[in-house]
Amino acid sequence: MEQLKTIGRELAMGSQGGFGQSKEFLDLVKSIGEARSKAEEDRIVLSEIDILKRKLLEPDIPKRKMKEYIIRLVYIEMLGHDASFGYIHAVKMTHDDNLLLKRTGYLAVTLFLNEDHDLIILIVNTIQKDLRSDNYLVVCAALNAICRLINEETIPAVLPQVVDLLNHHKEAVRKKAIMALHRFHRKSPSSVSHLISNFRKRLCDNDPGVMGATLCPLFDLITEDVASYKDLVSSFVSILKQVTERRLPKSYDYHQMPAPFIQIKLLKIMALLGSGDKSASEIMYMVLGDLFKKCDSSTNIGNAILYECIRSISCIIPSPKLLEAAADAISKFLKSDSHNLKYMGIDGLGRLIKISPDIAEQHQLAVIDCLEDPDDTLKRKTFELLYKMTKSSNVEVIVDRMIDYMISINDNHYKTEIASRCVELAEQFAPSNQWFIQIMNKVFEHAGDLVNIKVAHNLMRLIAEGFGEDDDDADSKLRLSAVESYLQIMSEPKLPSLFLQVISWVLGEYGTADGKYSASYISGKLCDVADAYSSDETVKGYAVSALMKIYAFEIASGRKVDVLPECQSLIEELLASHSTDLQQRAYELQALLALDARAVESILPLDASCEDIEFDKDLSFLNGYIQQAIESGAQPYISERERSGMLETTDYHSQDHHEVPSHALRFEAYERPKPSSLRTQASTELVPLPEPSYYSEAHQPISTSSVSERESSEIKLRLDGVKQKWGRPSYQSSTSASSTPPQAANGTSSHPDVGVGSSSLKPRSSYESKKPEIYPEKQRLAASLFGGSSSSRSDRKSSSGGHKPAKGTASKPPKENPIPVQPPPDLLDFGEPTATSVTATDPFKELEGLMDSSSQDGGSTDVMGVLYSDAAPVTTTTSVDSLLSELSDSSKGNPGTYQSQTSKGPNSQEALEKDALVRQMGVNPTSQNPTLFKDLLG
């Protein structure tokens, strides 16, 4: 029977051409269905592409045929191949008057094109026309396309029509218009900011579908600005109430549940509105309580609503009764056999645990079962829960488990995440320094290349500073244990680069610090590292710098230094290295070895990695030299700002030029410029993307500069709302992120008035005595996780229950302070004054020239070197000294940034600032345009 049906279906499709599809297409689908491998499938698709390319070139293709070709293109694209050669035909098809074809055209373009595709412009006109159609299906098709295709630039072209459609007599159109506006709001909030009242109005639409759709944009709006929607709390509550009382049409029922999707959306909104607002929360108690009673936990959708209730309760300020109901629901989830529900239960537990920390107690075993479940998803969720409930009493168990799991998985994305969580927990709750270093070693060893580099920096900083207390003895012990563990680990093959960097740095700073290991031993090890990882320049750089420190400490303490032969050969090899960075370091090391103890000590003082380094940014020690140069006829330096000031007129032009093209895409007659859109433009104007355009502005004729300006402005348009990626060095922000504590697991949550400190009265013994039949292993694990056998540990960290995290937060920020992480040393800044007189010389060359001139008595051919040794022979040694010390100190103080990096993009920040300034100047005239317009137009 079944068989007959299928055959019949197939036949029907074959004969009728399956809604206009030809035999050819059916054959294609079939042959792909029969393909035995991906390669075969690809071959078939490629030949199909060839066929289509040929066919599309034929003149006068009948429309029916064309429609089929386009569906075939969609199919190709769906299978992951490029069908861009046919996009234009799909665009053309949207122009067709026949709805059938038009709809196919729209379907194809929405699947083919992204919103930033060039062809969009060709569609806008059609969309405008279709929005005006009196066939509501055409309007719907156009609105569907709008939701996918319209971008920031084209919003104004369709906005008025979409707004008009909000009052269309067909609810399907109203609904889609709402969704389109929602989409606009997400793309560019300013474009629809004056229309927000419409959303409120549509909430009262008498079609429940429209009302349901309106909840989507409202959810977004409320996320952005809770305060101005507080008045809607009671409306939402009453809507939810009506929904649960089955006041909506029966067609919205889903598995006997009244409009569940709308309920869930409402619950999400209520969670936002009730968060931290007692009075708003109180309005919701009733309806939430009802929901718990009404929800049928035997269906999946009922559970979905229950889960959403739990989430809402964890966000609002809940009543004890609701909490209890939520806890009950969670325990039902956890006890269920379904993995899905267990997962939801664990998730819910993680949410509620912030409010009532002891809720996890009763579910210990369930949690541990989930932790050991073969299902990875469930396991990960459980780790998330553990992460949330970590405190100093259970940190060791939890982190150990996490690391075991981390080692066992291959998924790099999750590995990264769990590694960073381990680090975070270890930083926050570490019971001892040794333990901390061990954990870090493990993390680095197994996930080294995935760990954020700032974790390495934090570790180095921590070792350098100790744990904050003024206990030098403990600090040096910490360092010693670090050094010892590293010396041990180093012998293992194939360590991650980042870990080696940390090792090298620590060995360099502290390897010889307390005399346990000799300089030659440590330097031998460092040479081994540089040898073994000879392809990794960063590691090599760290190793060389470490060597330099070791020798410097030796020289400074007056001991005689004999450079190991392998070290000597390493230096010689690096002197000829292709990497300027390594070369630089090698030269520095060589120069340093020749200096006397006093000089060396001032270059690399012992254990000074925490000291601030002062930069002489103005390079005042070169003043005399500059003076001389000017006297002998050199051009004085003109600062970049002044230079750009001179160029302002050209810049002005280019600004005008780019104003025109960006507004060239007008889709209707002149309109009055809106101040709001200009404002956003001014703000995006500051988005730095400058260097290419900056240089072209400065050095190229106007026409090209305007082009590049336009380019950059195009890029800028898309940057609105996107996180700034290449802007200022993100170092600061990242450290601040690391210093914010993870959500404190116990007690100290965002709800200060609930349940703080109750964790100290844990009835753990009751559980142990009650259930004796449980496997002892699990029991032990449970106890260690949930605080059973932790008495000794919690003694040490006595009363730490609710206290420690707070302390962690309090003590962290000051810890960050003493080492203000320097922005990457501004090497170009160094060279700037000179760089202008001799345009664009490589600062490194100059430095080398300087060094050469001192060591080889000016034998170099470098212009700067010659100039320098000619002009200022007296100051040579001191300035070289200071230069060197600045260089090496900076490399020492900031291990992450090494010179080759800084030389490439060093003063981008400065350039950005200047660029911004230039732009501001350029922009000002245009930003006055609105008033000008007003004046002109009255």
Binding site: Q21, K38, G80, H81, L99, C140, K176, A213, I264
Partner: protein, 203 residues
């Protein structure tokens, strides 16, 4: 081919449909690749994916911008993860900081990718809702229907989800608008037919 709605029936009688049997080689083990920069999404649902048990793509809908290259990577990676999962496990997979909710109907996997903070059970029901609508439209839908009429499936999806948000939760309403569209199509067809008929007569 099995009805999709006869839930989770893994057995597929191969003799029935010799012409359309997909290869049995499970192509799911395309190598998992390293990170790629996925664009951050906009809607609550980032994409919808229909994959057959053999890893063949039946339908894709991307609500967040992905390049063609990223798309195939996503499909490869996800089908690798999802098709290899056992039957009794969660219907959720954490994946690159997102969550993918999937459900198997007969030989077809329906997957939706959502943010980590979304309600997975709800999405599971959205999938089911979609399947129910498909079922109603095609009359006990099977994979074959979707293979040959994927554009229909797209139309229906467009009525259900817009920009990654659920737009209409009433089956009836969706069915009504789809059938209205179909009627228009039929009318257009007839019209075209009659015109060509007239032309044929005239000439």
């Amino acid at each position: 081919m099995d009805r999709l709605m006869s839930l989770c029936v893994p057995s597929l009688d191969l003799r029935k449909h010799r012409s359309l049997i997909d290869s049995l080689e499970i192509q799911s083990c395309y190598l998992l690749s390293e990170h790629s920069c996925l664009a951050s999404g906009f809607g609550s649902i980032h994409f919808v994916l229909l994959v057959s048990r053999q890893g063949k793509v039946r339908l894709t809908k991307w609500y967040s911008p992905y390049t063609q290259k990223e798309r195939s990577k996503v499909i490869r990676e996800l089908s690798g993860v999802i098709l290899n999962r056992g039957p009794k496990l969660c219907n959720f997979v954490e994946w690159r900081g997102y969550k993918v909710v999937y459900k198997r109907y007969a030989s077809l996997y329906f997957c939706m990718c959502i943010d980590a903070e979304d309600n997975e059970l709800e999405v599971l029901e959205i999938i089911h809702h979609y399947v129910e609508i498909l079922d109603r439209y095609f009359g006990s839908v099977c994979e074959l229907d979707l293979i040959f009429n994927f554009h229909k499936a797209y139309y229906i999806l467009d009525e259900l989800l817009i920009a990654g948000e659920i737009q209409e939760s009433s089956k009836k309403t969706v069915a009504r608008i789809i059938s209205a569209q179909d009627q228009m199509v039929e009318a257009a067809k007839e019209e075209a037919g009659s015109i060509s008929y007239i032309i044929a007569q005239a000439s």
